[in-house]
């Protein structure tokens, strides 16, 4: 069963920074829902994801999963990173089993993990050292590792951004299939608009300096999604527009240092100034 998430007015300051990284973030996610967080780099989307995982505690506000405040990592919610970060001294099966070993659930573990490896298409690689796998295969092992503990929530931090286009598409569809089969809630961070539309039930667009939630867009397309259908491309275009609005003014080159752009900050910070029209459209789309 998927987890219900409630993000309650999170504001976060990193030490030694005057501007908050995140400001007044409020969001609720229903069980089994898939949410995409998109935004410019430095908008704090990864910070927010780390808070959901319990790897970082917000300075103000709280994350609640199924009503319980998140204060530390738990095998019930699992995070996948951009790099698979498998342990190179272990076989594929051992890597995928780790969560269960740490939980002390060794009984029937091999059977369980083998079934999972079968699901991600790596059954015959179970005894192989992970260093011999391709990037896509390694990320599949990481996926199996994340699913082994039966998480209620899967958090993905740009997990496919280092993969080639074909492998990426394949894995996106696979994660959607597996999470829907199991009713797992998924929150993922990306700056790939197609990925957001392909996987998410709802896309949340974040603005930067400070990180705020700017728009939400419901993606009401049936699975498996046809990426060439008119509905898909239309949503992609719409999302692109919201996304473009967050980098207002559009002609400005990207600041090299995210914290130093205080001169433009008031303008960019005000959601009403930068995107009231798209915001209204977003509500209509929802």
């Amino acid at each position: 069963m998927g987890a219900a998430i409630s993000i309650d007015y999170i504001t976060h300051h990193y030490p030694k920074q005057t501007d908050p990284t995140l400001q007044d973030i409020e969001l609720t996610v229903s069980p089994g829902e898939t949410i995409a967080l998109i935004g410019q780099s430095g908008c704090g989307k990864s910070t927010l994801l780390h808070m959901l995982a319990g790897l970082l505690i917000p300075s103000e506000g709280a994350v609640r999963i199924n009503g319980h405040q998140v204060i530390k990592p738990s095998p019930r919610w699992n995070m996948m990173f951009q790099k698979p970060s498998l342990y190179p001294w272990m076989t594929v099966r051992r890597n995928a089993s780790l969560g269960l070993i740490f939980q002390g659930r060794q009984e029937g573990m091999n059977k369980r993990v083998d079934a999972l490896l079968e699901t991600v298409g790596l059954a015959e690689k179970a005894e192989v050292n992970v260093q011999s796998l391709s990037g896509g295969q390694q990320q599949r092992v990481a996926l199996a590792r994340s699913l082994a503990t039966d998480p209620e929530l899967l958090l993905l931090d740009e997990p496919f951004s280092a993969l080639d286009a074909f492998t990426k598409t394949e894995l996106q569809d696979e994660v959607v299939r597996l999470s829907r089969d199991r009713g797992i809630t998924v929150v993922f961070v990306t700056h790939d608009i197609e990925e957001a539309v392909a996987m998410a039930d709802r896309v949340v667009v974040m603005g930067s300096n400070p990180g705020t939630l700017q728009h939400q867009l419901k993606v009401d397309l049936p699975h498996p999604r046809d990426r060439t259908s008119p509905g898909f491309t239309e949503l992609k275009a719409e999302l692109m527009e919201f996304f473009g609005a967050t980098r207002h003014p559009a002609s400005r080159p990207e600041p090299t240092d995210d914290t130093s752009s205080s001169a433009e900050a008031p303008e960019a910070d005000d959601p009403a100034a930068s995107g009231s029209a798209p915001a209204r459209r977003a509500i209509r789309a929802a």
């Binding site: 990592p73 970060s85 001294w89 272990m90 011999s132």
Partner: protein, 279 residues
């Protein structure tokens, strides 16, 4: 990539010839330079022996030359005389290293992990590390009831530093993502140590042990010059006192051979503990 694996199963009997030829070729390539090196050392030794024998001032030491030494070496091996000092020496080095590992590895893990500890211990440890272990000899003799224990202490204090710092270096090199992923999967501190930290640093620990073996083996001989009546250091001193220079040189040879073997064992351990894919 170990390409020899592909030579293991020749398809036809005709290919056996090729396979054995390749094996011979491979063996020759592996051994030619080491054998050249050994030959070079022997020539140098022989030349040194010849020079000593032909100088009236040093003629008395002529039995350091390869001929008398190898004869004496054969004598001490065939008479079994060589084993007792080897056993005593290995016993001392073994215990010294054991204590050094038991202290050095946990200490190294903590120094590598906690910045505060690393900075606090830096000056005192570097200071202690640079003191020759033999300088502790008088204190060791006072502090320990037996000479044996004093020697074990000297070896341990010499061997502990390479192990500690190699371990600390290994811990500092651990990919932070490995710890983060472990944390995310619900690892407790024991799990982190057992499944992540120890396998990650195993190779560094054994590299430290290899250095420690080298230091311990060097410290052993001068430590055995004093007090004890067994071991390779004692055997050398004894041979000097009885003017048996051929026997003395034979024991030097034994020290070198055993040191080489200990080092070879460490190299094997380092290789086995490496998690890097064969390349």
């Amino acid at each position: 990539m170990n390409r020899d694996a592909t030579f293991d199963l020749p398809a036809t009997p005709g290919e056996w010839g090729w396979a054995s030829l390749r094996t011979a070729n491979h063996l020759r390539r592996r051994l030619q330079y080491p054998l050249l090196g050994i030959a070079g050392l022997l020539v140098l030794w022989w030349w040194g022996g010849w020079a000593i024998a032909n100088n009236p001032d040093t003629m008395a030491f002529a039995s350091f030359a390869p001929g008398p030494t190898l004869t004496a070496f054969w004598d001490i091996v065939s008479s079994g005389q060589v084993w007792s000092p080897i056993e005593s020496s290995l016993h001392r080095v073994g215990f010294g290293l054991l204590y050094a590992i038991l202290i050095g590895v946990p200490l190294g893990v903590m120094i590598g992990y906690f910045n505060v500890l690393r900075e606090t211990t830096h000056v005192p440890f570097q200071f202690l590390r640079m003191i020759s272990p033999l300088a502790w000899m008088p204190i060791a003799v006072l502090a320990f009831a037996t000479w044996d224990a004093a020697i074990v202490f000297l070896i341990a204090i010499a061997a502990v530093w390479p192990i500690t710092y190699a371990t600390a270096h290994g811990v500092q090199r651990i990919d932070p993502m490995w710890l983060k992923v472990g944390n995310n999967l619900g690892a407790n501190p024991y799990h982190t140590l057992r499944y992540i930290v120890m396998p990650a640093i195993a190779q560094d620990v054994f590299a430290g042990i290899r250095l420690a073996v080298g230091v311990a083996w060097i410290v052993l001989v001068p430590a055995e010059y004093l007090g004890v009546t067994s071991g390779l250091g004692y055997a050398i001193n004894d041979a000097r006192d009885t003017l048996e220079y051929d026997k003395l040189a034979a024991f030097v040879l034994v020290i070198g051979l055993i040191g080489y073997m200990l080092d070879a064992i460490c190299v094997r351990l380092i290789r086995r503990s490496s998690y890097h894919a064969e390349s």
